[in-house]
Protein backbone atom coordinates (compact mmCIF):
# COMPACT_ATOMS: atom_id res chain seq x y z
CA UNK A 1 0.00 0.00 0.00
CA UNK A 2 2.93 2.31 0.71
CA UNK A 3 4.10 1.57 -2.80
CA UNK A 4 0.77 2.68 -4.28
CA UNK A 5 0.59 5.85 -2.17
CA UNK A 6 4.10 6.70 -3.28
CA UNK A 7 3.47 5.72 -6.93
CA UNK A 8 0.36 7.92 -7.18
CA UNK A 9 2.25 10.76 -5.54
CA UNK A 10 5.45 10.48 -7.55
CA UNK A 11 4.90 13.44 -9.87
CA UNK A 12 4.05 15.75 -6.97
CA UNK A 13 7.10 14.58 -5.04
CA UNK A 14 9.36 15.36 -7.95
CA UNK A 15 7.85 18.83 -8.36
CA UNK A 16 8.24 19.51 -4.64
CA UNK A 17 11.81 18.21 -4.57
CA UNK A 18 12.74 20.33 -7.60
CA UNK A 19 11.22 23.47 -6.09
CA UNK A 20 12.96 22.80 -2.78
CA UNK A 21 16.31 22.31 -4.51
CA UNK A 22 15.98 25.67 -6.29
CA UNK A 23 14.95 27.38 -3.06
CA UNK A 24 17.85 25.76 -1.24
CA UNK A 25 20.35 27.11 -3.74
CA UNK A 26 18.90 30.60 -3.51
CA UNK A 27 18.56 30.60 0.29
CA UNK A 28 22.10 29.37 0.81
CA UNK A 29 23.32 32.13 -1.49
CA UNK A 30 21.18 34.72 0.33
CA UNK A 31 22.30 33.45 3.72
CA UNK A 32 25.96 33.74 2.88
CA UNK A 33 25.42 37.24 1.45
CA UNK A 34 23.75 38.35 4.67
CA UNK A 35 26.50 36.73 6.77
CA UNK A 36 29.09 38.50 4.69
CA UNK A 37 27.34 41.83 5.21
CA UNK A 38 27.07 41.13 8.92
CA UNK A 39 30.72 40.18 9.34
CA UNK A 40 32.07 43.19 7.47
CA UNK A 41 29.72 45.93 8.62
CA UNK A 42 27.84 44.99 11.78
CA UNK A 43 30.15 42.82 13.89
CA UNK A 44 32.48 45.15 15.86
CA UNK A 45 30.78 48.27 14.55
CA UNK A 46 30.65 51.55 16.47
CA UNK A 47 27.66 53.72 17.39
CA UNK A 48 26.71 55.75 14.34
CA UNK A 49 28.11 53.27 11.83
CA UNK A 50 26.07 50.53 13.51
CA UNK A 51 22.88 52.49 13.13
CA UNK A 52 23.54 53.12 9.45
CA UNK A 53 24.62 49.54 8.81
CA UNK A 54 21.42 48.27 10.37
CA UNK A 55 19.32 50.51 8.16
CA UNK A 56 21.36 49.39 5.20
CA UNK A 57 20.94 45.70 6.05
CA UNK A 58 17.21 46.13 6.20
CA UNK A 59 17.05 48.11 2.95
CA UNK A 60 19.22 45.59 1.12
CA UNK A 61 17.64 42.30 2.18
CA UNK A 62 14.10 43.19 3.23
CA UNK A 63 12.58 42.46 -0.18
CA UNK A 64 14.36 39.16 -0.73
CA UNK A 65 13.45 37.88 2.72
CA UNK A 66 9.87 39.11 2.41
CA UNK A 67 9.42 37.15 -0.81
CA UNK A 68 10.75 34.00 0.82
CA UNK A 69 8.54 34.58 3.88
CA UNK A 70 5.43 34.94 1.73
CA UNK A 71 6.38 31.78 -0.17
CA UNK A 72 6.87 29.80 3.00
CA UNK A 73 3.59 31.10 4.42
CA UNK A 74 1.89 29.99 1.18
CA UNK A 75 3.43 26.50 1.09
CA UNK A 76 1.06 24.88 3.64
CA UNK A 77 -1.90 26.41 1.83
CA UNK A 78 -0.66 25.02 -1.47
CA UNK A 79 -0.12 21.62 0.13
CA UNK A 80 -3.67 21.63 1.48
CA UNK A 81 -5.15 22.68 -1.84
CA UNK A 82 -3.08 20.56 -4.23
CA UNK A 83 -2.10 17.53 -2.14
CA UNK A 84 -4.86 17.31 0.46
CA UNK A 85 -8.08 18.19 -1.32
CA UNK A 86 -7.62 15.89 -4.36
CA UNK A 87 -6.31 12.94 -2.32
CA UNK A 88 -9.71 11.28 -1.92
CA UNK A 89 -11.89 13.31 -4.30
CA UNK A 90 -9.81 12.31 -7.30
CA UNK A 91 -10.37 8.63 -6.54
CA UNK A 92 -14.09 9.29 -6.20
CA UNK A 93 -14.31 11.37 -9.37
CA UNK A 94 -12.36 8.88 -11.47
CA UNK A 95 -14.21 6.07 -9.70
CA UNK A 96 -10.92 4.37 -8.88
CA UNK A 97 -12.16 3.99 -5.30
CA UNK A 98 -14.00 1.02 -6.77
CA UNK A 99 -10.72 -0.43 -7.93
CA UNK A 100 -8.55 0.26 -4.93
CA UNK A 101 -11.14 -0.50 -2.25
CA UNK A 102 -11.53 -3.97 -3.72
CA UNK A 103 -7.93 -4.99 -3.32
CA UNK A 104 -7.09 -6.95 -0.20
CA UNK A 105 -6.56 -3.80 1.85
CA UNK A 106 -9.19 -2.31 4.11
CA UNK A 107 -10.27 1.27 3.57
CA UNK A 108 -9.00 2.21 6.99
CA UNK A 109 -5.52 1.02 6.14
CA UNK A 110 -5.73 2.63 2.72
CA UNK A 111 -6.50 6.03 4.25
CA UNK A 112 -3.98 5.57 7.06
CA UNK A 113 -1.14 4.84 4.64
CA UNK A 114 -2.04 7.68 2.30
CA UNK A 115 -2.29 10.17 5.17
CA UNK A 116 0.98 8.99 6.67
CA UNK A 117 3.05 9.00 3.48
CA UNK A 118 1.84 12.33 2.14
CA UNK A 119 1.49 13.87 5.59
CA UNK A 120 5.15 13.12 6.25
CA UNK A 121 6.08 14.52 2.84
CA UNK A 122 4.14 17.72 3.63
CA UNK A 123 5.91 18.11 6.94
CA UNK A 124 9.27 17.44 5.34
CA UNK A 125 8.76 20.04 2.60
CA UNK A 126 7.63 22.77 5.00
CA UNK A 127 10.24 21.79 7.59
CA UNK A 128 13.14 21.88 5.14
CA UNK A 129 12.02 25.16 3.63
CA UNK A 130 11.68 26.65 7.11
CA UNK A 131 15.07 25.31 8.18
CA UNK A 132 16.68 26.90 5.14
CA UNK A 133 14.96 30.24 5.61
CA UNK A 134 15.64 30.29 9.35
CA UNK A 135 19.32 29.73 8.70
CA UNK A 136 19.43 32.13 5.81
CA UNK A 137 17.75 34.98 7.71
CA UNK A 138 19.26 34.28 11.13
CA UNK A 139 21.70 37.23 11.13
CA UNK A 140 19.05 39.51 9.69
CA UNK A 141 16.56 38.44 12.39
CA UNK A 142 19.20 38.92 15.06
CA UNK A 143 19.80 42.50 13.98
CA UNK A 144 16.21 43.53 13.16
CA UNK A 145 14.76 41.63 16.13
CA UNK A 146 11.13 41.30 15.05
CA UNK A 147 10.84 37.57 15.51
CA UNK A 148 7.39 37.83 17.12
CA UNK A 149 6.00 39.75 14.12
CA UNK A 150 3.16 37.74 12.54
CA UNK A 151 5.00 36.90 9.33
CA UNK A 152 8.38 36.22 10.95
CA UNK A 153 6.99 33.97 13.65
CA UNK A 154 4.99 31.89 11.19
CA UNK A 155 7.86 31.44 8.76
CA UNK A 156 10.73 30.39 11.02
CA UNK A 157 11.76 27.33 13.00
CA UNK A 158 9.20 24.62 13.68
CA UNK A 159 5.70 26.09 13.31
CA UNK A 160 5.54 25.72 9.49
CA UNK A 161 5.70 21.92 10.00
CA UNK A 162 2.47 22.06 11.98
CA UNK A 163 0.79 24.34 9.44
CA UNK A 164 1.70 22.01 6.58
CA UNK A 165 0.40 18.84 8.23
CA UNK A 166 -2.77 20.57 9.31
CA UNK A 167 -3.46 22.05 5.87
CA UNK A 168 -2.89 18.65 4.25
CA UNK A 169 -5.24 16.83 6.61
CA UNK A 170 -7.78 19.64 6.35
CA UNK A 171 -7.77 19.37 2.54
CA UNK A 172 -8.16 15.60 2.69
CA UNK A 173 -11.04 15.62 5.14
CA UNK A 174 -12.83 18.48 3.38
CA UNK A 175 -12.45 16.46 0.18
CA UNK A 176 -13.95 13.39 1.82
CA UNK A 177 -16.98 15.38 2.92
CA UNK A 178 -17.47 17.49 -0.22
CA UNK A 179 -16.47 14.67 -2.62
CA UNK A 180 -15.61 17.05 -5.47
CA UNK A 181 -12.12 18.39 -6.08
CA UNK A 182 -12.71 22.03 -6.99
CA UNK A 183 -15.11 22.92 -4.17
CA UNK A 184 -12.86 21.02 -1.76
CA UNK A 185 -9.86 23.08 -2.90
CA UNK A 186 -11.76 26.34 -2.47
CA UNK A 187 -13.09 25.46 0.97
CA UNK A 188 -9.66 24.27 2.13
CA UNK A 189 -8.06 27.51 1.00
CA UNK A 190 -10.69 29.69 2.65
CA UNK A 191 -10.67 27.82 5.97
CA UNK A 192 -6.88 27.62 6.16
CA UNK A 193 -6.33 31.26 5.16
CA UNK A 194 -8.95 32.33 7.69
CA UNK A 195 -7.21 30.40 10.43
CA UNK A 196 -3.82 31.81 9.41
CA UNK A 197 -5.22 35.32 9.77
CA UNK A 198 -7.05 34.63 13.00
CA UNK A 199 -4.21 32.94 14.88
CA UNK A 200 -1.56 35.71 14.72
CA UNK A 201 -4.07 38.52 15.23
CA UNK A 202 -6.38 37.14 17.89
CA UNK A 203 -5.27 33.79 19.28
CA UNK A 204 -1.48 33.67 19.58
CA UNK A 205 -1.05 36.50 22.10
CA UNK A 206 -3.49 34.79 24.47
CA UNK A 207 -1.76 31.41 24.42
CA UNK A 208 0.10 32.45 27.57
CA UNK A 209 -0.98 35.14 30.04
CA UNK A 210 0.91 38.33 29.13
CA UNK A 211 3.29 40.02 31.55
CA UNK A 212 3.00 43.66 32.70
CA UNK A 213 6.29 45.32 33.65
CA UNK A 214 6.69 48.82 35.01
CA UNK A 215 9.35 50.50 32.89
CA UNK A 216 11.19 53.61 34.01
CA UNK A 217 11.76 56.17 31.28
CA UNK A 218 15.52 56.56 30.96
CA UNK A 219 17.90 57.52 28.18
CA UNK A 220 17.79 53.97 26.75
CA UNK A 221 14.02 54.08 26.44
CA UNK A 222 14.06 57.52 24.92
CA UNK A 223 16.71 56.46 22.42
CA UNK A 224 14.88 53.31 21.35
CA UNK A 225 12.73 55.17 18.85
CA UNK A 226 9.68 55.81 21.03
CA UNK A 227 7.34 58.75 20.64
CA UNK A 228 5.44 60.84 23.20
CA UNK A 229 1.90 61.65 22.29
CA UNK A 230 -0.08 64.44 24.01
CA UNK A 231 -3.70 63.35 24.03
CA UNK A 232 -6.82 65.54 24.05
CA UNK A 233 -7.17 65.19 27.83
CA UNK A 234 -3.73 66.83 28.17
CA UNK A 235 -1.97 63.63 29.32
CA UNK A 236 0.87 61.80 27.61
CA UNK A 237 1.14 58.33 26.09
CA UNK A 238 4.41 56.68 25.21
CA UNK A 239 4.25 54.98 21.84
CA UNK A 240 6.14 52.24 20.06
CA UNK A 241 8.18 50.86 22.93
CA UNK A 242 9.42 47.30 22.54
CA UNK A 243 11.88 45.78 24.98
CA UNK A 244 14.60 43.86 23.23
CA UNK A 245 13.31 40.60 21.72
CA UNK A 246 9.94 40.74 23.44
CA UNK A 247 6.46 41.05 21.94
CA UNK A 248 4.72 44.34 22.80
CA UNK A 249 0.98 43.80 22.95
CA UNK A 250 0.00 47.47 23.04
CA UNK A 251 1.31 50.25 20.84
CA UNK A 252 0.81 53.04 23.34
CA UNK A 253 0.58 53.23 27.09
CA UNK A 254 -0.08 56.15 29.50
CA UNK A 255 2.93 57.82 31.13
CA UNK A 256 2.97 58.37 34.86
CA UNK A 257 5.03 60.52 37.17
CA UNK A 258 6.85 59.15 40.21
CA UNK A 259 3.71 59.73 42.34
CA UNK A 260 1.60 57.62 39.89
CA UNK A 261 -0.38 60.59 38.58
CA UNK A 262 -0.63 61.07 34.80
CA UNK A 263 2.15 62.96 33.08
CA UNK A 264 0.43 66.14 31.86
CA UNK A 265 1.20 68.77 29.26
CA UNK A 266 2.41 71.37 31.74
CA UNK A 267 4.75 68.79 33.37
CA UNK A 268 6.53 68.42 30.05
CA UNK A 269 6.99 72.11 29.40
CA UNK A 270 10.24 72.60 31.39
CA UNK A 271 11.88 69.83 29.34
CA UNK A 272 10.98 71.32 25.96
CA UNK A 273 14.44 72.56 25.12
CA UNK A 274 14.63 73.48 21.45
CA UNK A 275 17.76 72.51 19.51
CA UNK A 276 19.22 70.47 22.35
CA UNK A 277 17.81 66.99 22.35
CA UNK A 278 20.25 65.58 24.86
CA UNK A 279 19.42 68.24 27.43
CA UNK A 280 15.71 67.66 26.85
CA UNK A 281 16.11 63.90 27.29
CA UNK A 282 18.16 64.40 30.44
CA UNK A 283 15.45 66.66 31.82
CA UNK A 284 12.73 64.06 31.03
CA UNK A 285 14.77 61.25 32.55
CA UNK A 286 15.18 63.32 35.71
CA UNK A 287 11.41 63.49 36.10
CA UNK A 288 11.39 59.73 36.96
CA UNK A 289 8.53 58.85 34.65
CA UNK A 290 7.28 55.31 34.24
CA UNK A 291 4.68 53.33 32.26
CA UNK A 292 3.16 49.85 32.16
CA UNK A 293 4.54 47.58 29.47
CA UNK A 294 2.15 44.77 28.49
CA UNK A 295 4.10 42.10 26.61
CA UNK A 296 5.15 38.53 26.05
CA UNK A 297 8.79 38.27 27.17
CA UNK A 298 11.40 37.31 24.62
CA UNK A 299 12.42 34.13 26.42
CA UNK A 300 8.97 32.74 25.65
CA UNK A 301 9.70 32.61 21.91
CA UNK A 302 10.36 28.88 21.85
CA UNK A 303 7.49 28.17 24.21
CA UNK A 304 5.22 29.90 21.72
CA UNK A 305 6.72 27.95 18.83
CA UNK A 306 6.12 24.65 20.61
CA UNK A 307 2.61 25.61 21.73
CA UNK A 308 1.61 26.55 18.22
CA UNK A 309 3.21 23.46 16.70
CA UNK A 310 1.42 21.23 19.22
CA UNK A 311 -1.82 23.07 18.60
CA UNK A 312 -1.70 22.41 14.86
CA UNK A 313 -0.54 18.81 15.31
CA UNK A 314 -3.40 18.31 17.77
CA UNK A 315 -5.91 19.79 15.33
CA UNK A 316 -4.50 17.49 12.63
CA UNK A 317 -5.01 14.45 14.82
CA UNK A 318 -8.59 15.48 15.60
CA UNK A 319 -9.32 16.00 11.91
CA UNK A 320 -7.73 12.65 11.06
CA UNK A 321 -9.89 10.91 13.64
CA UNK A 322 -12.93 12.58 12.13
CA UNK A 323 -11.81 11.42 8.68
CA UNK A 324 -11.63 7.78 9.80
CA UNK A 325 -15.00 8.09 11.50
CA UNK A 326 -16.46 9.48 8.28
CA UNK A 327 -14.96 6.73 6.14
CA UNK A 328 -16.30 4.04 8.45
CA UNK A 329 -19.75 5.56 8.58
CA UNK A 330 -19.95 5.82 4.81
CA UNK A 331 -18.90 2.27 4.09
Amino acid sequence: MIWLAWRQFRAQTLVAAGALALLAIYLIYLGSEIRNFYDTRIANCTQQACYLARLDLRATYDDAISVMVVLLIAVPGLIGVFWGAPLVTQELEQRTDRLVWNQSVTRTKWLAVKLTVIGLASMAVAGLFSLLLTWSASRYDEVIGERFAALSFGSRNIVPIGYALFAFVLGTVVGMIVKRTLPAMAITLIVFAGLQLLIPTVVRQNLMPPVTDTVAVDANVLNSGVGMNLKEDNTFDIQGYTANGSWALEFSSPLYKADDTPYRGEDAKPCLIPDDREAGDACTTAQNLHFDYLHQPGHRYWTFQWIELSMFLGLSILLTAFGFFWLRRRS
Binding site: T96, L99, W101, S104, V105
Partner: protein, 296 residues
Protein backbone atom coordinates in the same frame (compact mmCIF):
# COMPACT_ATOMS: atom_id res chain seq x y z
CA UNK B 1 -23.35 -26.27 0.82
CA UNK B 2 -21.61 -22.90 0.97
CA UNK B 3 -23.50 -20.03 -0.51
CA UNK B 4 -21.65 -17.59 -2.73
CA UNK B 5 -24.14 -14.87 -1.89
CA UNK B 6 -26.87 -15.00 0.68
CA UNK B 7 -29.18 -12.05 1.27
CA UNK B 8 -32.16 -11.65 3.51
CA UNK B 9 -34.68 -8.85 3.05
CA UNK B 10 -31.84 -6.77 1.65
CA UNK B 11 -32.81 -3.17 0.87
CA UNK B 12 -30.90 -0.11 -0.20
CA UNK B 13 -32.41 3.33 -0.25
CA UNK B 14 -30.86 6.43 -1.81
CA UNK B 15 -32.70 9.40 -0.35
CA UNK B 16 -36.27 8.79 -1.56
CA UNK B 17 -35.37 6.23 -4.22
CA UNK B 18 -35.55 2.59 -3.20
CA UNK B 19 -32.84 0.99 -5.34
CA UNK B 20 -33.16 -2.49 -3.91
CA UNK B 21 -36.32 -3.64 -2.19
CA UNK B 22 -36.55 -6.57 0.19
CA UNK B 23 -34.35 -8.88 -1.79
CA UNK B 24 -33.83 -12.42 -0.54
CA UNK B 25 -31.40 -14.61 -2.46
CA UNK B 26 -29.42 -17.78 -1.95
CA UNK B 27 -26.85 -18.25 -4.67
CA UNK B 28 -24.89 -21.49 -4.45
CA UNK B 29 -21.13 -21.61 -4.82
CA UNK B 30 -19.42 -22.61 -8.05
CA UNK B 31 -21.89 -21.02 -10.46
CA UNK B 32 -21.67 -18.46 -13.18
CA UNK B 33 -24.54 -16.24 -12.21
CA UNK B 34 -26.22 -13.98 -14.72
CA UNK B 35 -27.91 -10.94 -13.22
CA UNK B 36 -30.35 -9.52 -15.74
CA UNK B 37 -32.59 -6.50 -15.54
CA UNK B 38 -33.33 -3.25 -17.30
CA UNK B 39 -31.29 -0.14 -16.57
CA UNK B 40 -32.02 1.17 -13.11
CA UNK B 41 -33.35 -2.14 -11.86
CA UNK B 42 -30.86 -2.34 -9.01
CA UNK B 43 -28.18 -4.58 -10.53
CA UNK B 44 -25.28 -2.27 -9.69
CA UNK B 45 -26.70 -1.70 -6.22
CA UNK B 46 -26.86 -5.44 -5.55
CA UNK B 47 -23.32 -5.98 -6.84
CA UNK B 48 -22.09 -2.94 -4.92
CA UNK B 49 -23.55 -4.41 -1.76
CA UNK B 50 -21.97 -7.78 -2.54
CA UNK B 51 -18.54 -6.21 -2.95
CA UNK B 52 -18.97 -4.06 0.15
CA UNK B 53 -18.66 -0.80 -1.79
CA UNK B 54 -21.94 0.29 -0.24
CA UNK B 55 -23.73 -0.73 2.92
CA UNK B 56 -27.35 -1.93 3.08
CA UNK B 57 -30.12 0.29 4.44
CA UNK B 58 -31.79 -2.75 5.96
CA UNK B 59 -31.60 -6.51 5.75
CA UNK B 60 -28.40 -8.50 5.54
CA UNK B 61 -25.97 -9.82 2.99
CA UNK B 62 -23.26 -12.43 3.34
CA UNK B 63 -20.72 -13.25 0.69
CA UNK B 64 -18.97 -16.61 1.05
CA UNK B 65 -20.33 -16.72 4.59
CA UNK B 66 -19.07 -13.33 5.74
CA UNK B 67 -20.09 -9.71 5.65
CA UNK B 68 -18.66 -8.08 2.49
CA UNK B 69 -15.38 -6.16 2.81
CA UNK B 70 -15.36 -6.76 6.54
CA UNK B 71 -11.62 -7.51 6.66
CA UNK B 72 -8.59 -7.71 4.43
CA UNK B 73 -9.06 -11.51 4.31
CA UNK B 74 -12.62 -11.15 3.11
CA UNK B 75 -11.57 -8.55 0.52
CA UNK B 76 -8.99 -11.02 -0.76
CA UNK B 77 -11.71 -13.58 -1.45
CA UNK B 78 -13.81 -11.40 -3.74
CA UNK B 79 -12.69 -9.75 -6.97
CA UNK B 80 -14.81 -6.86 -8.20
CA UNK B 81 -14.86 -4.99 -11.48
CA UNK B 82 -17.15 -1.98 -11.27
CA UNK B 83 -19.18 -0.66 -14.18
CA UNK B 84 -17.02 1.01 -16.85
CA UNK B 85 -13.98 -0.85 -15.47
CA UNK B 86 -12.26 2.01 -13.61
CA UNK B 87 -8.45 2.03 -13.75
CA UNK B 88 -5.84 4.63 -12.84
CA UNK B 89 -5.48 6.59 -16.06
CA UNK B 90 -2.01 7.89 -15.19
CA UNK B 91 -0.59 4.51 -14.24
CA UNK B 92 0.72 2.06 -16.83
CA UNK B 93 -0.47 -1.50 -17.36
CA UNK B 94 2.64 -2.73 -15.53
CA UNK B 95 1.83 -0.41 -12.62
CA UNK B 96 -1.61 -1.98 -12.36
CA UNK B 97 -0.11 -5.45 -12.16
CA UNK B 98 2.33 -4.21 -9.55
CA UNK B 99 -0.57 -2.68 -7.64
CA UNK B 100 -2.35 -6.03 -7.73
CA UNK B 101 0.77 -7.85 -6.62
CA UNK B 102 1.44 -5.54 -3.71
CA UNK B 103 -2.11 -5.26 -2.46
CA UNK B 104 -3.20 -8.90 -2.73
CA UNK B 105 -1.62 -11.77 -0.79
CA UNK B 106 -2.74 -14.49 -3.22
CA UNK B 107 -1.78 -12.60 -6.38
CA UNK B 108 -0.97 -14.77 -9.40
CA UNK B 109 1.60 -12.79 -11.37
CA UNK B 110 2.14 -15.49 -13.99
CA UNK B 111 -1.57 -15.61 -14.73
CA UNK B 112 -1.81 -11.83 -14.92
CA UNK B 113 1.15 -11.48 -17.24
CA UNK B 114 -0.05 -14.27 -19.51
CA UNK B 115 -3.52 -12.75 -19.81
CA UNK B 116 -2.16 -9.29 -20.55
CA UNK B 117 0.13 -10.76 -23.20
CA UNK B 118 -2.67 -12.82 -24.75
CA UNK B 119 -4.96 -9.79 -24.92
CA UNK B 120 -2.19 -7.93 -26.73
CA UNK B 121 -1.92 -5.11 -24.18
CA UNK B 122 1.24 -3.00 -24.13
CA UNK B 123 2.75 -3.18 -20.65
CA UNK B 124 4.20 0.31 -20.86
CA UNK B 125 1.02 1.98 -22.03
CA UNK B 126 -0.81 4.34 -19.70
CA UNK B 127 -4.18 2.91 -18.72
CA UNK B 128 -5.83 6.20 -19.67
CA UNK B 129 -5.02 5.65 -23.33
CA UNK B 130 -6.39 2.11 -23.53
CA UNK B 131 -9.56 1.41 -25.52
CA UNK B 132 -12.73 0.54 -23.63
CA UNK B 133 -12.24 -3.14 -24.37
CA UNK B 134 -8.60 -3.14 -23.31
CA UNK B 135 -9.49 -1.31 -20.13
CA UNK B 136 -12.14 -3.91 -19.35
CA UNK B 137 -9.54 -6.62 -19.90
CA UNK B 138 -7.04 -4.91 -17.63
CA UNK B 139 -9.58 -4.44 -14.85
CA UNK B 140 -10.74 -8.04 -15.21
CA UNK B 141 -7.15 -9.29 -15.11
CA UNK B 142 -6.42 -7.38 -11.90
CA UNK B 143 -9.62 -8.74 -10.32
CA UNK B 144 -9.02 -12.32 -11.49
CA UNK B 145 -5.32 -12.56 -10.65
CA UNK B 146 -6.27 -11.85 -7.05
CA UNK B 147 -7.28 -15.53 -7.07
CA UNK B 148 -10.36 -14.97 -4.95
CA UNK B 149 -13.25 -17.36 -4.70
CA UNK B 150 -15.85 -15.08 -6.25
CA UNK B 151 -15.63 -12.61 -9.12
CA UNK B 152 -18.21 -9.84 -9.25
CA UNK B 153 -18.45 -8.15 -12.65
CA UNK B 154 -20.80 -5.21 -13.12
CA UNK B 155 -21.80 -4.81 -16.79
CA UNK B 156 -18.43 -6.10 -17.97
CA UNK B 157 -19.33 -6.00 -21.65
CA UNK B 158 -21.40 -2.81 -21.79
CA UNK B 159 -18.55 -0.86 -23.39
CA UNK B 160 -17.67 -3.57 -25.92
CA UNK B 161 -18.84 -4.06 -29.48
CA UNK B 162 -20.81 -7.24 -30.24
CA UNK B 163 -17.79 -9.15 -31.53
CA UNK B 164 -15.71 -8.24 -28.50
CA UNK B 165 -18.60 -9.29 -26.27
CA UNK B 166 -18.54 -12.83 -27.64
CA UNK B 167 -14.78 -12.95 -27.22
CA UNK B 168 -14.99 -11.67 -23.67
CA UNK B 169 -17.56 -14.29 -22.69
CA UNK B 170 -15.62 -17.15 -24.28
CA UNK B 171 -12.53 -15.98 -22.50
CA UNK B 172 -14.43 -15.72 -19.23
CA UNK B 173 -15.52 -19.35 -19.50
CA UNK B 174 -11.92 -20.39 -20.15
CA UNK B 175 -10.42 -18.79 -17.12
CA UNK B 176 -13.31 -19.54 -14.81
CA UNK B 177 -12.48 -23.18 -15.54
CA UNK B 178 -8.82 -22.55 -14.91
CA UNK B 179 -9.24 -20.54 -11.70
CA UNK B 180 -12.18 -22.50 -10.27
CA UNK B 181 -13.92 -19.33 -9.24
CA UNK B 182 -17.59 -18.43 -8.94
CA UNK B 183 -18.73 -15.51 -11.02
CA UNK B 184 -21.64 -13.14 -10.86
CA UNK B 185 -22.00 -10.80 -13.79
CA UNK B 186 -24.73 -8.39 -14.78
CA UNK B 187 -26.09 -7.12 -18.04
CA UNK B 188 -29.25 -5.48 -19.23
CA UNK B 189 -29.16 -7.86 -22.19
CA UNK B 190 -29.81 -11.50 -21.53
CA UNK B 191 -28.20 -12.31 -24.87
CA UNK B 192 -24.80 -11.43 -23.39
CA UNK B 193 -25.20 -13.93 -20.60
CA UNK B 194 -27.31 -16.73 -22.02
CA UNK B 195 -24.37 -18.77 -23.30
CA UNK B 196 -22.30 -18.59 -20.14
CA UNK B 197 -24.49 -18.46 -17.07
CA UNK B 198 -25.82 -21.52 -15.29
CA UNK B 199 -27.71 -19.55 -12.68
CA UNK B 200 -30.03 -16.67 -13.42
CA UNK B 201 -31.44 -13.78 -11.44
CA UNK B 202 -33.97 -11.46 -13.00
CA UNK B 203 -34.14 -8.11 -11.30
CA UNK B 204 -36.58 -5.29 -12.07
CA UNK B 205 -37.68 -2.28 -10.06
CA UNK B 206 -35.32 -3.25 -7.28
CA UNK B 207 -36.97 -6.62 -6.74
CA UNK B 208 -36.00 -10.18 -7.56
CA UNK B 209 -38.48 -11.67 -9.98
CA UNK B 210 -36.90 -15.03 -10.51
CA UNK B 211 -33.74 -16.69 -9.30
CA UNK B 212 -32.40 -20.18 -9.73
CA UNK B 213 -30.16 -22.58 -11.61
CA UNK B 214 -30.91 -22.33 -15.30
CA UNK B 215 -31.66 -26.04 -15.71
CA UNK B 216 -34.05 -25.97 -12.76
CA UNK B 217 -35.80 -22.91 -14.11
CA UNK B 218 -36.20 -24.33 -17.59
CA UNK B 219 -37.63 -27.53 -16.11
CA UNK B 220 -40.57 -25.73 -14.53
CA UNK B 221 -41.50 -23.22 -17.22
CA UNK B 222 -43.77 -24.04 -20.11
CA UNK B 223 -45.28 -22.39 -23.10
CA UNK B 224 -48.84 -23.13 -24.05
CA UNK B 225 -50.08 -22.00 -27.42
CA UNK B 226 -53.59 -22.19 -28.69
CA UNK B 227 -56.18 -20.36 -30.74
CA UNK B 228 -57.03 -16.96 -29.37
CA UNK B 229 -59.91 -17.11 -26.96
CA UNK B 230 -59.60 -20.87 -26.46
CA UNK B 231 -59.81 -21.80 -22.82
CA UNK B 232 -56.89 -23.78 -21.45
CA UNK B 233 -56.56 -25.58 -18.21
CA UNK B 234 -53.62 -25.13 -15.87
CA UNK B 235 -52.64 -27.36 -12.98
CA UNK B 236 -53.64 -25.99 -9.60
CA UNK B 237 -50.11 -24.93 -8.61
CA UNK B 238 -49.22 -23.30 -11.91
CA UNK B 239 -48.46 -19.61 -12.08
CA UNK B 240 -49.22 -17.64 -15.19
CA UNK B 241 -46.25 -15.46 -16.00
CA UNK B 242 -47.13 -13.80 -19.24
CA UNK B 243 -49.76 -13.91 -21.94
CA UNK B 244 -49.14 -12.89 -25.48
CA UNK B 245 -52.01 -12.50 -27.89
CA UNK B 246 -51.68 -12.09 -31.58
CA UNK B 247 -54.64 -11.94 -33.99
CA UNK B 248 -55.51 -15.58 -33.98
CA UNK B 249 -53.09 -17.16 -31.58
CA UNK B 250 -52.55 -16.90 -27.86
CA UNK B 251 -49.37 -17.93 -26.13
CA UNK B 252 -48.84 -18.11 -22.39
CA UNK B 253 -45.78 -18.84 -20.35
CA UNK B 254 -46.43 -20.54 -17.06
CA UNK B 255 -44.45 -21.81 -14.16
CA UNK B 256 -45.51 -25.18 -12.88
CA UNK B 257 -43.81 -27.84 -10.87
CA UNK B 258 -45.96 -30.58 -12.41
CA UNK B 259 -45.86 -31.31 -16.14
CA UNK B 260 -48.55 -29.78 -18.31
CA UNK B 261 -49.83 -31.98 -21.11
CA UNK B 262 -49.54 -30.37 -24.51
CA UNK B 263 -47.16 -27.62 -23.31
CA UNK B 264 -43.77 -27.04 -24.92
CA UNK B 265 -40.45 -26.28 -23.31
CA UNK B 266 -39.46 -22.63 -23.15
CA UNK B 267 -35.99 -21.21 -23.75
CA UNK B 268 -34.11 -18.99 -21.30
CA UNK B 269 -34.59 -15.87 -23.37
CA UNK B 270 -38.37 -16.19 -23.64
CA UNK B 271 -38.68 -17.05 -19.98
CA UNK B 272 -36.64 -14.04 -18.92
CA UNK B 273 -38.55 -11.75 -21.24
CA UNK B 274 -41.82 -13.02 -19.82
CA UNK B 275 -40.71 -12.09 -16.31
CA UNK B 276 -39.34 -8.74 -17.39
CA UNK B 277 -42.49 -7.88 -19.30
CA UNK B 278 -44.63 -8.80 -16.36
CA UNK B 279 -42.43 -6.74 -14.06
CA UNK B 280 -42.62 -3.63 -16.21
CA UNK B 281 -46.35 -3.87 -16.93
CA UNK B 282 -47.70 -4.91 -13.57
CA UNK B 283 -45.07 -3.44 -11.33
CA UNK B 284 -43.64 -5.32 -8.40
CA UNK B 285 -44.60 -8.95 -8.03
CA UNK B 286 -47.14 -9.68 -5.41
CA UNK B 287 -49.59 -12.43 -4.70
CA UNK B 288 -52.11 -10.83 -7.07
CA UNK B 289 -49.84 -11.44 -10.01
CA UNK B 290 -49.96 -15.17 -9.41
CA UNK B 291 -53.02 -16.26 -11.29
CA UNK B 292 -53.68 -19.94 -11.18
CA UNK B 293 -55.76 -22.14 -13.40
CA UNK B 294 -58.14 -22.76 -10.57
CA UNK B 295 -59.34 -19.15 -10.87
CA UNK B 296 -60.46 -19.61 -14.40
Amino acid sequence: MTLAIHTESLSKRYRRHLALDDCTLAIPDGRIVGLVGPNGSGKSTLLGLASGMIAPTSGSIEVLGQRPAVSADQLARVGFVAQDAPVYSRLTVTDHLELGARLNPKWDQAFAERRIRERGLDLKQKAGSLSGGQRAQLALTVAAAKRGELLVLDEPVAALDPLARRGFMRDLLDFVDELEVSVILSSHLLGDLAQVCDHLIVLANGRVHVSGDVSDLLAVHYRITGRAGDPYRLPADAELIHTENSRDESSVIVRSTSPIPGAEAVDLEDMTLAYLTRATTTGPVGPTAAMTGADR
